[in-house]
Structure formats: C-alpha cells, structure tokens
C-alpha cells in the first residue's frame, strides 16, 4: 500500500493519486510559498554580486584603488574610487549611535521589565511600537529642520560650523535604534527565570543589586544581540542619515564635521550616474559591501544566540 514500495516511477505517475497524496497537495503548495525566501536570497545575492564586481571585472579598477581613501569619481586628473571613507563612515556613525542608544535603551528595558507599575507599562509598551513605526524620512526631516539648525546656531563654538555632521547622523540613528534595542533587551530580561530574581532578593539584596549582579549578567547575550541588531539597522539606514550627515567623503576624524556613509552615497549618486560607467559600478560595489556587512551581522547574532543556548 505504501507509495514508496511502487517500483517504477512511471506507474506512480500514471495511476490516479491516492487519497493521501491528494491531501498532501496543500503541504506542497505551502512549502513552495515558504521556500520562496530561498529563491529571493539567491536572486538578491546573484544580482547584487554580479553588478557589484563590474567595477573590477569590466572597468579594471584594482582592489588597492578601492581600498584607498581618495574618492574622486569625477576628476579630470584621473578618477579614483577609494571607498574607505564610506566604509569607515558607516562604521563610525553606527558605533557612536550604538554608544548613545545602548545605555538609554537598556535603562528603558530595565524600567519596563523590573520597575514600571502596570500603568507605566501600558504607556511605554505602545510607545515603543509607535516609535519603531515612525518612517525614517520623518526622522531625517526632523534632523534637518530641528537638529542641524540647532547645532549650527548654538554649538558652532565647539565646531558645528555647518550643523551637518557625524554627531547629527549618529544622534538621529540613535533615536531610531533605541526602541529596537530596548524591545529586544526587554525580552531578554523577561526571559531570566523568576527564581534567580527571588533567590537574590531573598538574600536581602536591594532591587538595584539584583539588577546589577544577577539580571544583567544573566541577560548578557540577549543585550549583545539587541545591540548588534540595532547596529545592523543603523548601518543599513539610508535616507535619514543622508539628510543630516553632510555627505563629505573624508575619513572620520571629528564628531562635529560632515561625513558620509555607504548608504548615503548610493542614495545621492544613483540617480546622477549612468549605468555602465565606473562611477555607477562603484555604487553597486558599495551595495555589495553593505549586503555582505549585513549578512555578517546575521552570523554574529547567530553566534551570540548559540552562546545563550549553551549557557
């Protein structure tokens, strides 16, 4: 009776489907729908990689040239496509954003998990959801109409002569990733077994001692995962950063000076360049770098998650 016992494939195909097989059709259909994501990843990798390597294969720009700091795609003296300013810019803006957002986000998560009375939680919880939902152009627009003028008018004394700066980009990003980090960290705190908490409190410790010495160490990996996911979002964010960072292809040296990132350069130049010219191909290479960077973050999150499972 079992289907696998039928010796020839052709006979299986000719006879009408058994009841079991017919009932299995939904299984196959839903599997195809679920497996579409594999096709998408494949297509994405293929298209971005193929376009991303054209700079090297078709325009014969050397890797050494790309790994330099000189970005002059439009110069009469000879074009160079140094991408270090963009890569360094992306990392610099992301790291400072995480440095600003993490203490606030972890504090907020602790508040929601350990301290907040019910009424306060009924405010912070939906607030986080609304926060995450605000579109990035709105953050960018806020940055350019409020933050940048503020920096320029009141803090030009400390170097914010233009307002557009590394710091402005990081601050806008920090605001954007704060709810992401807070929400995931909150989950990590809630996943800490209640016995650890009550055990510590029963020894006569204060709430703060329990938080510092029991909760935070126990949720360490969860917090790390949250920060990495936040940084992932920050590194990939395009429009909000582009609007406030000033877009100057220099290596990051001062928080008060304009900078640029991979995403903002793609956003700015894609419409002004022609497909097939090296400048355009360089933008695709930046896209490929971003793609590999984000896949790297995913692997990092997996490693952190595995650490948690083992502990």
């Amino acid at each position: 009776m079992t289907d696998s016992a039928v010796p020839f494939r052709s006979t299986v195909l000719r006879r009408p489907l058994t009841r079991r097989e017919r009932l299995d059709l939904p299984r196959r259909l839903t599997l195809v729908a679920a497996a579409m994501v594999i096709v998408l990843v494949g297509l994405l990798l293929a298209f971005i990689s193929w376009n991303g390597v054209q700079l090297f294969s078709a325009s014969h720009v050397s890797l050494g040239d790309v790994l330099s700091t000189r970005w002059q795609p439009d110069s009469s003296a000879g074009n160079t496509y140094g991408m270090l300013p963009f890569i360094a810019g992306t990392l610099a803006v992301t790291i400072v954003a995480a440095l600003i957002a993490t203490p606030l986000a972890v504090g907020l998560a602790l508040f929601m998990a350990e301290i907040a009375p019910r009424w306060a939680r009924s405010i912070t919880q939906p607030a986080m959801e609304v926060f995450v939902g605000i579109p990035s152009v709105v953050y960018g627009w806020l940055g350019i109409t409020i933050l940048v003028p503020f920096l320029r008018e009141h803090l030009s004394g400390v170097g914010f002569t233009l307002g557009f700066s590394w710091f402005a980009g990081s601050l806008v990003l920090a605001l954007m990733i704060l709810p992401t980090i807070a929400t995931i960290t909150h989950d990590a705190f809630r996943a800490v077994p209640a016995e650890l908490r009550s055990g510590s409190l029963a020894l006569g410790t204060t709430r703060w001692q329990t938080i510092r010495h029991i909760l935070v160490p126990a949720a360490k990996n969860g917090i790390a995962t949250a920060v990495v996911l936040g940084m992932m979002r920050a590194a990939g964010e395009a429009l909000a950063v582009q609007m406030v960072i000033g877009n100057r292809p220099v290596m990051p040296t001062s928080l008060t000076q304009p900078l640029t990132t991979l995403t903002s350069q793609i956003t700015l130049d894609m419409g002004n360049t022609v497909a097939g010219e090296p400048w355009n191909q360089a933008l695709w290479t930046m896209g490929l770098i971003l793609l590999l960077l984000s896949f790297g973050f995913v692997v990092l999150v997996r490693v952190l998650g595995r650490g948690k499972a083992r502990a």
Binding site: L23, L25, P26, T30, L31, A33, A34, A35, V37, I38, L40, V41, L44, F47, I48, N51, L104, G107, L108, F111, M112, I115, T124, P126, A127, E129, V130, F131, G133, I134, P135, S136, V137, V138, W141, L142, I146, T206, R207, W208, Q209, M232, A238, L239, M243, T263, T267, L268, M270, G271, A275, W284, G287, L290, L291, S294, F295, F297, V298, R302
Partner: protein
C-alpha cells in the same frame, strides 16, 4: 548598608527618568507634527496636486502611497500566509526548515537601499518596465514577504493545540483542520500582522527611490481606467512617487518657497498614518478576537 539603599534609590530614580525622557521625546515628535501641521491637513492639501506657485497638495503622492501599499499587500499577504501555514503546521526541524529560517533572517537584515538596488536591476532594468508602481511593490515584497510569513507563523502557532486535536479526532484531515479550524482562529493575529506590515510599507522610502521613481506626479486622470496605459494612475505600470519618497525628494531638491510647509505637512500625514495603523492593529485585532472566539 545605607550606601546600598541610597544606590538603589538613585538607580530607581535614573531608570524612571530615562523612561520619562524617552516617552516625552516621542510625544514631542508626534506633537511637533500633529500640532504644527494640523492646520494643513485639510482636503485642499490632501487632495489637490503639487503646485509651484502655492503650497498645493499631495493628492497624487498620497494616492500612489496607497496604491503601492495595496499592490504590495496583494503580493505578500496570500503568499506570506501560505508560507506561515507551512512553517507553523507542516515544517519539521529538518535542514530545509533551517535553511528557510536562515534565509528569512538574511532577508530581514538586508538594508532597504540594497533591496532598492536589487529592484532596480531586476524589476526596472531587466524587465524594461522603467520606474513603475509594480516594480516598487515587488521590491517591497522582497522583504515583506518573509516578514509576513514569520508573523503569520506566529499567528498560527498562537492557536492552541487542543483545537487541532479536537478536529483531527473527529476524522478531518490535516488540511481540513487547518482550513476550517486553525485559519479562522488565527485571523485576528493575521489581521494585526497585516496592519503592522502595512504601516512599514507605507513609510518605506529607500527601496522605492530607484524602483517606483522620483518624478513629481501631476495631471492624474482618474477617469482613465486603461490598466495598460502608463499614464493612467490605476495602471501598475505608472511611475509612482510615494509620500515618503516625496519628502526626501523635496529635501534633496530644495526648490520652491513652500518646501518646508509641504514637507512638514507630508511628514505629519505619515506620522498620523503610523498612529492609525498602530491603533488599528490593536483595536481591530482585539475586536476580531472577541467576535471569533466569542469570549
């Protein structure tokens, strides 16, 4: 001993302060747009066309946002729900399931500007469509399809196993159980998921810059119902600047004396929509839950 108690007091105070400050920032953002632009959010701004000589309106842009949203949902909701059914009801823990989950994570991590590049290469250039609403919707589907599948999976998993056992014990097949027992019970969760993804799609801009296009839409003829005609606003092949993209475009071009007002008004519309989507997801989800379970 005193020092310890003092530290506890101070820490509690600091954590309260952080929470208050964060909530105040959010309220300030919402207040800034809603109060600052409430005067603009009338029919003349929401419905009329952009203009060079006056504030004009965002009618066509708002229409495009809704159009691209609906198109994207048509692409992602059915497929995503089916994918979610597989992951929640059929999938084991074999290598295929693991690969699917890993790929979902990968797609979730891809920056939207890179998805935009992918859309440009595949849906704009390779298809020779040019910038179209359909290309934009397809690009948005790239990351919203896996997201929808994941949210749908959660909605199906939230249905108690007792319901499945009861149905299977009555002799129904697994598909009959899913179709007639699990799916109806999962609908409140699915609706919440759809509204939440809709909010994301509505605000997305980076993936649309190079797919749905940047042209300022004017002269929309809503009487033109020829779906094959790229000049018809109803055609999936018409270039479709959405509201989010429009804000970015206004800022980057910086032309005209009304840019500030128009962008403030557009941002206000976006913020209000986010609030509507969020409250809608909560309210409708709860309402359906009550209707369907009769609780």
């Amino acid at each position: 001993m005193r020092r310890v108690l003092l530290a506890d007091r101070i820490a509690t105070g600091v954590l309260w302060a952080i929470a208050v400050v964060v909530v105040l920032i959010l309220l300030a953002i919402i207040g800034h747009f809603v109060i600052g632009a409430i005067a603009m959010l009338g029919p003349s701004f929401l419905l009329s066309e952009p203009s060079d000589s006056s504030v004009g309106g965002v009618g066509p842009v708002l229409f495009n946002s809704v159009y691209v949203l609906v198109l994207t949902l048509l692409l992602t909701v059915p497929l995503g729900t089916l994918g979610g059914i597989y992951l929640a009801e059929y999938a084991g823990s074999g290598p295929l399931t693991r690969i699917i989950r890993f790929c979902q994570e990968l797609i979730g991590s891809v920056p939207s500007i890179v998805v935009g590049l992918f859309g440009l290469a595949l849906f704009v250039n390779a298809t020779h469509w040019g910038f179209t609403a359909l290309a934009g919707a397809l690009a948005l589907s790239v990351f919203n399809l896996p997201l929808m599948a994941r949210l749908a999976e959660q909605a199906f998993r939230a249905v108690p196993d007792d319901e499945r056992s009861a149905s299977l014990a009555l002799g129904s097949s697994q598909w009959q159980t899913i179709r007639h027992v699990v799916l109806p019970l999962a609908i409140p969760g699915l609706v919440t998921a759809i509204i939440l993804t809709a909010g994301r799609i509505f605000g997305e801009a980076a993936a649309l810059l190079f797919t749905a296009g940047l042209s300022t839409p004017t002269g929309y003829d809503f009487a033109n119902l020829n779906l094959g005609d790229p000049r018809s606003p109803w055609s999936p092949l018409h270039p479709a600047t959405t509201l989010s993209v429009y804000i970015w475009k206004l800022n980057s071009e910086g032309l005209g004396s009304f840019v500030r007002q128009i962008a403030d008004g557009s941002a206000a519309v976006l913020v209000v929509m986010v609030l509507v989507f969020n409250l809608g997801a909560r309210g409708l989800g709860r309402l359906l839950q009550r209707r369907i379970t009769g609780a």
